[in-house]
């Protein structure tokens, strides 16, 4: 158990980007990145969670995995949205979270911003490239 350990991260705030490029159930990448995001939330860092290419399918609405016997983790992305809301509301906390979908990837798959289980910023690739270039750490899957 790690509850009683206090992590002193005061003064160290980096910009983390999590790049999701894989569809949710065919490989383990999506779930692994999601777990990394959830763990890193404890360290109060800046985070940009990005969905490009088939990664946009991770947050598609209406997933029901009962028939393929796998865990439907699309619901778990709600925690990311909650963390983002907390970060936005808490003025004492220097933490900025963004949830971004690349416009080109979304459109190539016939999807729109309403098709996702969380509220997202839709950015064209040129703008997303700028955000990516600003990061201190990029974790991709």
């Amino acid at each position: 158990m790690s509850e009683e350990i206090e992590f002193d991260t005061a003064g160290i705030t980096k910009k983390f980007m999590y790049v999701n490029r894989k569809a949710p159930y065919g490989t383990i990448y999506a779930l692994e990145v999601l777990e990394a995001v959830l763990i890193s939330a404890a360290f109060e860092q800046h985070a940009a969670i990005v969905f490009i290419d088939d990664g946009v399918y991770q947050i598609k609405k209406g997933q029901d995995t009962a028939a393929i016997n796998m865990k439907n983790f699309s619901k778990t992305y709600g925690i990311i949205e909650m963390e983002k809301e907390d970060a936005d509301e808490d003025e004492d906390m220097d933490m900025v979270w963004r949830i971004i979908v690349e416009k080109e990837s979304m459109e190539a798959r016939g999807l729109s911003a309403d098709d996702f289980v969380v509220d997202v910023e839709v950015l064209p690739s040129a703008e997303l490239a700028k955000v990516m270039a600003e990061q201190d750490v990029v974790i991709s899957g």
């Binding site: 790690s2 509850e3 009683e4 777990e35 959830l38 865990k71 983790f73």
Partner: protein, 110 residues
């Protein structure tokens, strides 16, 4: 391993976590709590029910940090602390409360 309640058998893993979380009921929770040497009070149930609701919504148990924050939001500042949760569940709120709630062992917990 298994629990027996009212003539029915509920399978658990070797650490006592329920295998089929849909089979959970309050009577069974009481039995698991007894094994954990916890006397269930309203305050215990608050946490256990919160964990079950959270799991239903997000398909994952919350990290302790998230649990503390959420309990604080829902039940007030005096309950939103590590200390309060450890008083209720001395061997760790994640570990014990999740077990009683019939949820899988939290993964983020080493």
């Amino acid at each position: 391993m298994a629990y027996e309640v009212g003539g029915k058998t509920f399978e658990s893993d070797e650490e006592g976590y329920l295998v089929d979380l849909a089979s959970w009921n309050e009577e069974l929770a009481g039995l698991i709590a007894k094994d954990e040497e916890i006397d269930m009070t309203d305050e215990h149930w608050e946490v256990v029910n919160f964990l079950r609701d959270y799991y239903n919504e997000y398909q994952i148990a919350p990290a302790v940090r998230v649990l503390v924050k959420a309990i604080k939001k829902k039940f007030g500042a005096e309950k939103g602390s590590n200390k309060y949760l450890y008083e209720l569940f001395p061997y760790g709120p994640a570990k014990q409360a999740c077990k009683i709630a019939g949820l899988p062992k939290p993964t983020g917990c080493v």
